[in-house]
């Protein structure tokens, strides 16, 4: 344990623990390591999942999120560490003996079996009486709205219907924990959005615990109450969607989740202590002058830091805003270098005189473009100290 103190995964874990209710979590992943040869696919990862939680594992491809999920399902065995489900170590238990079910990315519907037999497959292995199997299949078919299709084979179904059969099949055994591996990746955009809402509704109604693996940030943010972002086999941050977006722990997270402006700088110090004016810190940057930020809740350990601002927090105006407005204390002048109209919002790139490019996105609240800024126009970009995040790593 002690050797992991500097590990972000460990830190994220303690973070999660402090927020969760006291008592044993449903699932505890404890310092799990999985190696493929010399490559550490999952590296001393720890995580607690509470019963009834909708948790998303998010990360770029190759970050180890699928390997982690496969270890929970039992298809991979951890080299080190424990996986406790309801207090019992299941790390070495084979898949068919775990009260865990998985929905596969490819759905893996058995092509030679009908919808009914696919859903009943797991129930038959559980040796339930046939009357109960029939009732449970009927319940599942209704739950995922597949009534009337029970006799079809998987190849006679549409993509959305197949996804529902896969979901029904994995829910039929009433698992303590349902694992979903990119469950919506094969659906088109419209169908994906409606299915996201249905999955959330289902999870809430049945009170189940879902762990979903996805590479799609929007999907993770929409569905999950808590997101774990993985990179190189470690959890970089575990947080609610809002915290992940508004309070990223590191530069990597800030850049991975959504768009962000990063400006390097140094803490302004006066006689050895940080210059604090009205609960604000000043950060001297080479490219954007002095930036005032709200004093972070935790003390900073380094003087060379990075200021992060989301594009939608940067406002534009033609003239400098009123000088005594604190929210406009940070103001940078530049020229509009690029305009990208996206419908609901317009993304601007503002080139400062120092050469730094700031991205700003403004909501198109009016139908007519009288407010829009044109290419080459000189503008003032301004933002509040409250909207800046200071990152040390």
């Amino acid at each position: 344990m002690s050797k992991d103190t500097g590990n972000p995964a460990r830190a994220a874990d303690s973070n999660a623990e402090s927020r969760s209710a006291p008592g044993m979590p449903l699932l505890r992943i404890d310092a799990v390591v999985k190696k493929f040869g010399q490559f550490r696919a999952v590296d001393a990862l720890s995580l607690d999942i509470q019963a009834g939680e909708f948790f998303a594992l998010l990360g770029p491809s190759g970050c180890g999120k699928t390997t982690l999920l496969r270890m929970l399902a039992g298809f991979e065995t951890p080299d080190e560490g424990r996986i406790l489900l309801g207090g019992e170590d299941i790390a070495q238990i084979s898949p068919h003996q775990r009260p865990v079910n998985m929905m596969f990315q490819s759905y893996a519907l058995f092509p030679h079996l009908s919808v009914r037999d696919n859903i009943a497959f797991g129930l038959k292995r559980a040796k339930l009486p046939s009357s109960e199997i029939g009732a449970r299949v009927k319940e599942m078919v209704t739950l995922v709205k597949l009534d009337g299709l029970e006799k079809r084979k998987p190849d006679q179904l549409s993509g959305g219907q197949r996804q529902r059969v896969a979901l029904a099949r994995s829910l039929a055994r009433r698992p303590k924990l349902l694992l979903l591996d990119e469950p919506l990746a094969a659906l088109d955009k419209k169908l994906r959005e409606s299915t996201q809402l249905e999955l959330m509704e289902l999870q809430r109604r049945l009170g189940l615990t879902f762990i979903i693996v996805t590479h799609d940030q929007q999907e993770a943010m929409t569905m999950a109450a808590r997101i774990g972002v993985m990179d190189a086999g470690r959890l970089e941050q575990v947080a609610s969607p809002r915290d992940l977006y508004e309070a990223p722990r590191s530069r990597w997270i800030a850049e991975f989740v959504g768009d962000i402006n990063l400006i390097e700088g140094k803490l302004d110090t006066i006689e050895g202590s940080h210059a604090t004016i009205a609960r604000r810190l000043a950060i001297v940057t080479e490219q954007a002058g002095t930036i005032h930020i709200a004093k972070p809740s935790h003390p900073l350990s380094r003087t060379s830091v990075c200021v992060a601002i989301r594009p939608e927090k940067i406002k534009l105006s033609r003239r400098a805003p009123v000088s005594d407005d604190v929210r406009a204390i940070n103001r940078l002048e530049g020229v509009v270098a690029d305009v990208g109209y996206l419908g609901g919002v317009t993304g601007y790139k503002i080139e400062l005189d120092s050469g730094l490019i700031l991205r700003s996105s403004l909501a198109n609240t009016a139908r007519l473009d009288s407010d829009a800024y044109g290419l080459g126009q000189r503008v003032v970009a301004w933002f509040s100290p409250e909207d800046c995040v200071v990152l040390e790593q």
Partner: protein
């Protein structure tokens, strides 16, 4: 335009006719002469079923044919079981040591000269003092045809997503049940094709059978070959025509079976 490109050009037709006649002309001549009334093989004496009648009264030839069918069915069944197991081990047990060695060793009999296979089996049977007859030919043919089955089944296994088996295990099957409930039904068309391939190979084999058979248990090819050495009787033509017909039926059944399983896979509804 489209119809012009779909039409066969004169060159295509000529090439097709030449190729097909190269393959099938000898067999067609054999079939036609099996209906020859004349005693001389090379002289046409009018249509007759006389030589078929002759064959059905030739007890030695009937025995040999029956022997061949039994050997073919038994060895094909054994080869299918062993070959399928080998294919599963090689395509699913990805991690074990010496896998590459095993798979190349499995395929060696494909290219091994039959004389060598036959001779080595003969030496083995002599060494262990096995009485040569039905079972030694069955064992020899199993050795010969198992690798063909394995190749066919392994190709199919490679095309099947492993997540089917994982899903079965996830839903409560131990590995053996997962294989029986999910993998086996999915590879069944290729297992059947493997069986038929093994059966026809066994039916056809002369070299290995003549090394490993014993007195009183000659297979049809051995019997035919020894008859032919004494001069070709038109009866042989009749027998060969029957064998060709049997093999044709097996091939048609096999291709129909694979067509049906293909059609099942292609029936996917559009999104």
């Amino acid at each position: 335009m489209a119809s012009a490109t779909n039409k066969l050009s004169r060159f295509n037709i000529t090439a097709l006719a030449l190729g097909l006649s190269f393959l099938y002309l000898p067999i067609v001549i054999l079939i036609v002469y099996s209906f020859n009334a004349s005693r001389l093989v090379t002289v046409w004496g009018g249509w007759s079923l006389h030589w078929y009648d002759e064959f059905f009264h030739d007890q030695a030839m009937i025995d040999a044919a029956w022997m061949s069918l039994r050997v073919g069915a038994t060895s094909a069944t054994l080869a299918t079981i062993l070959g399928t197991l080998a294919a599963v081990a090689l395509s699913r047990g990805a991690g074990f040591k010496g896998r590459t060695l095993f798979s190349s060793m499995l395929y060696a009999p494909l290219v091994m000269p039959e004389v060598i296979t036959g001779l080595s089996l003969l030496l083995l049977f002599v060494a262990i003092n096995a009485e040569r007859g039905f079972w030694t030919v069955v064992i020899a043919h199993t050795t010969l045809t198992m690798c063909f089955v394995s190749v066919v089944v392994q190709a199919r296994l490679g095309a099947i997503d492993r997540s089917f088996e994982e899903a079965a295990m996830d839903l409560g099957c131990d590995p053996l049940r997962a294989f029986a409930a999910v993998t086996l039904p999915l590879i069944l068309p290729s297992v059947a094709a493997g069986w038929m391939l093994a059966f026809t190979l066994s039916l056809d084999d002369l070299v290995i059978a003549s090394f490993t058979t014993g007195p009183g248990s000659a297979t049809l090819p051995i019997r035919i070959y020894s008859e032919v050495r004494l001069g070709v009787k038109p009866e042989i033509n009749a027998i060969c025509t029957l064998v060709v017909a049997l093999i044709a039926v097996v091939i048609v059944v096999a291709s129909l079976a694979s067509k049906i399983s293909d059609a099942r896979g292609k029936n996917a509804a559009p999104l």
